[in-house]
């Protein structure tokens, strides 16, 4: 039994790492622009489908590199054309707008690529498990975790050390002051939205390599991402990281004992955290740590 639990803790960390990648993009957009992006899961799906289209020409590696960039470009355009029109209004406007956008992207994917699942091929060697004992750790899952670590480290370094990153962090605290200091806030928000979309696109390619593609693929991953943000604390990227790993492990371990509650447990964690510490585990309103 102990081995089973340990296996599932490890497995949960792998699943959680994926939630983290998805949630960080969502959190970036929420923190700076105060937009609850319900279409984030659909940007993920779009990233996967773009990779599917590119893969025959660029191979898996080329698609992994280019598809997130295309998703970022798409995010940039969407922000410029649609999202920015609701800045300054009640958050419910952005919520409704992105909710509608989610349906549009989902239906476009369904129309173009069909409702049935499609496989995204990964290099054969990556589809193999590490060993007979660690059968649930495939080289692809290790690769996914490595990519997540690199992406998260890169994002944190970017936010801490680059000029644009510092402006994003400052904007999270007080966007008006940042604008008063002469920073082009409109462009900053567009860039930030594109960065969030890039992370969603990257998540999409990685997810497609494991579970394949379907128009609804982002929906199932969106809610755990929101929960990771809430549990970790809105405004805290480190909290999002912690929240993602926590719910990943909780869901995996719950499967050992109460499989039908594996989905409910993450909502239970959210409820408990909100009751005991409403700002989340590491949340300090307006702070990005």
């Amino acid at each position: 039994m102990l081995q089973l639990v340990l296996y599932n803790v490890t497995n949960g960390l792998i699943i959680g790492a994926f939630y983290v990648l998805m949630a960080l993009g969502l959190s970036l957009i929420l923190n700076l622009s105060n937009v609850i992006n319900f279409a984030h899961g659909n940007f993920l799906a779009l990233g996967g489908y773009i990779a599917f289209v590119m893969a025959p020409y660029t191979g898996f590696w080329g698609a992994l590199l280019l598809s997130p960039l295309v998703a970022a470009l798409f995010g940039f355009i969407i922000e410029r054309v649609m999202i920015r029109r609701v800045y300054g209004r009640d958050p419910v406007y952005s919520l409704l707008l992105t909710f509608g956008l989610a349906f549009i992207i989902q239906d476009v994917c369904r129309y173009v690529w069909g409702p049935n699942g499609l496989p995204l091929g990964i290099p054969d060697v990556m589809a193999q498990p590490l060993s007979a004992n660690l059968f649930f750790i495939t080289w692809y899952r290790i690769f996914m975790v490595a990519i997540v670590i690199i992406a998260v480290a890169g994002l944190f370094a970017f936010l801490r050390f680059s000029r644009v990153g510092m402006r994003i962090r400052a904007g999270t605290l007080d966007l008006d002051t940042v604008a008063a200091l002469g920073v082009n806030v409109r462009l900053l928000r567009s860039f930030n939205f594109a960065l969030g979309s890039l992370l969603a696109g990257l998540s999409g390619v990685l997810a497609a390599g494991q579970i394949g593609l379907n128009p609804n693929m982002g929906d199932d991953l969106l809610m755990p991402s929101f929960i990771a943000i809430i549990v970790g604390g809105v405004g805290s990227l480190t909290g999002t990281l912690l929240g993602g790993l926590l719910i990943g492990v909780a869901a995996a371990v719950t499967t050992v004992f109460f499989p039908s509650a594996s989905e409910a447990v993450i909502y239970l964690i959210m409820a408990v955290v909100l009751l005991l510490r409403p700002r989340g585990l590491l949340g300090e309103e307006g702070m990005m740590t």
Partner: protein, 363 residues
């Protein structure tokens, strides 16, 4: 109905209208989207009956919606065919005089494949099952048949939209079963298949289950096209009359090789025609009586042997195609080899077993 069921129904409508329609009237097919939601399905059913004045209702692919719809059609005394909702009570404990079903019950599928899985792999099974009506009845049916064979089991009931099965697969591996039963449906089943394959679990246990439909098989990589499964109809029946014509016609009309879902829709519309010709009416009560025991002609049944609606529970009794899924052999749709044809009535057991107590309305 599923999209492919609608395509099959449209193909049948075109055939029927080309020959003068039903009772001299051209058939019009009105298609509504239930949005996979019980409330919407019920609302659309009421709209079709009350506003559009339809004679017959077909649907839904979701067992829960099909069941809810049957409450409405029964109340309105409208003839109702369920082409592809599998859960047992529809023609079992909750059977109704106006409701007929084309696809198999979960019990029929489980009874058909169990002997093959026991023979091929053994009697220690692990289930991965969706936690809703279809999954519950399917797993119960498997357990009943497995216990009869003296087997043991363990399993997980998972949320219907689960996409990551790694935790459950770890548990399955620890149990060391002879065979893993993947009872999930649709995209969840596909995700489970992929992870089962990626984890190399096929080396230590067999894989099988009730349904792994053509559409789903084609959605997974070649190495996940594996296991022992049931098909409710199969397109490749070289020596069976009319099948090749149907396959060619459907390919021409839709660009796709027909699946069991196409056949469900096709049989559904033709059944209405056959019943109406026999009853000389489209009125629900008369149509229902005419359909009881109705045998499908070979050009509609599209399979060997006798295919008929059992009078006691209104369940269609076709053959059940048991066999092995494999990567394509030349033709991209040649992904299943039939090893046995199990007669539907044999798999279904008796009407008493189903719990159906059919009562017709007073004339």
């Amino acid at each position: 109905m599923a999209k492919r069921e609608v395509e099959g129904a449209k193909y049948a409508v075109a055939e029927i209208n080309g020959k003068g329609g039903i009772l001299g009237r051209q058939v019009e097919l009105l298609v509504e989207d239930s949005a996979n939601d019980v409330g919407t399905g019920v609302q659309k059913t009421r709209k079709l009956i009350d506003r559009d004045q339809v004679d017959v209702i077909l649907g839904d692919v979701n067992s829960g919606i099909a069941y809810a719809m049957s409450q409405v059609t029964n109340e309105k005394k409208v003839f109702h065919i369920v082409p592809g909702g599998h859960t047992d009570p529809i023609t079992g404990t909750d059977c109704k005089w106006n409701v007929f079903r084309i696809c198999n019950t979960t019990s029929m599928d489980a009874a058909a494949i169990t002997p093959e899985l026991v023979k091929k792999f053994g009697k220690k099974w692990f289930f991965i099952t969706p936690d809703y009506a279809y999954g519950h009845t399917l797993q119960d049916a498997f357990i009943k048949n497995l216990k009869k064979a003296g087997g043991t089991y363990e399993g997980d009931m998972l949320p219907i939209n689960t996409s990551d099965f790694s935790a459950t697969l770890i548990k399955a591996k620890a149990y060391q079963p002879n065979v893993l039963l993947n009872n999930m449906g649709g995209l969840a089943q596909i995700d489970c298949m992929k992870q089962f394959t990626q984890f190399g679990m096929g080396k230590s246990m067999g894989l099988g289950g009730a349904l792994f439909e053509l559409e789903s098989i084609k959605s997974v990589p070649a190495d996940a096209q594996t296991g022992w499964w049931v098909m409710e109809w199969w397109w490749n029946q070289p020596n069976v009359p009319h099948v090749a014509d149907f396959v060619a016609g459907m390919r021409k009309a839709t660009g796709k090789t027909p699946s069991a879902r196409h056949w469900f829709g096709y049989v559904g519309v033709h059944s209405v025609r056959l019943g109406a010709e026999k009853a000389k009416s489209l009125a629900g009560p008369k149509l229902s009586v005419a359909m009881e025991g109705l045998e499908l002609p070979p050009d509609v049944a599209l399979q060997p042997g006798k295919t008929f609606y059992r009078a006691g529970d209104h369940e269609l009794m076709p053959n059940i195609f048991v066999g092995e899924v494999h990567p394509p052999k030349g033709n991209p749709d040649d992904v299943f080899t039939v090893s046995a044809l199990v007669p539907g009535e044999q798999a279904a057991g008796t009407v008493e077993d189903t719990g159906c107590k059919m009562t017709h309305p007073a004339a």
